[in-house]
Symmetry: C2
Subunit: 117 residues, 2 copies
């Protein structure tokens, strides 16, 4: 289970394009740039409460999309399966004394897919 | 590149939950149950034109979501990468005379992820 913050950033990565520009900006400043509500308020010249409301609303929208679509959930499940696949490759590599180039290629592909998610 | 029909069904699989119940029903009858516009019209007791409009509108909505989110595209890319991974496993299996149980397990996991997408 991801912690709340990481989970919201993941949701944003998937569904962020469905937020308004303003929502995206506030979310980004708060979650990705790690600014405080006060700092964002000052920088954007709006009230701290307004910043809070926009971010809360953005979170709700992202969560609603995930509730309906479950695509982050699907990606996460696949990611876990591929982590298991990587462990199996490691086991095979040990048996094979790590001398198969195909195996490292295989590992790279799977890692690539995992990181894309 | 998928043919149009298969592509729309894939989009529906991802974003269908964002359509209204009526849109989902019409889309389903037309694309998954393969009924004609006329048959759907008769069954639903609305005009053929109305059925056509609802389905066209649904297609547009699904395509708009994909344009914004690109999640089907992402899944398809990952799927292709994993197909390559499967080919590599096949090569390894030939070298190893197909006698590693880990390999078949590995194959099953990757197939599982591919089919989920």
């Amino acid at each position: 289970m991801l912690e709340k913050r990481a989970y919201l950033i993941l949701l944003f990565d998937f569904y962020g394009a469905l937020l308004t520009e303003k929502q995206r900006l506030m979310f980004d400043l708060y979650y990705q740039y790690d600014l405080s509500l006060g700092e964002i308020a000052q920088e954007q010249n709006i009230s701290r409460q307004a910043v809070y409301d926009i971010i809360k609303r953005s979170e709700n929208i992202l969560e609603e999309y995930e509730n309906k679509l479950q695509l982050v959930n699907r990606f996460q499940n696949n990611k876990e399966k591929l982590q298991t696949a990587l462990l199996l490759i490691k086991e095979i590599a040990i048996i094979e004394n790590n001398n198969m180039t195909n195996l490292s290629e295989l590992k790279e592909i799977i890692k690539d897919v995992i990181n894309e998610n």
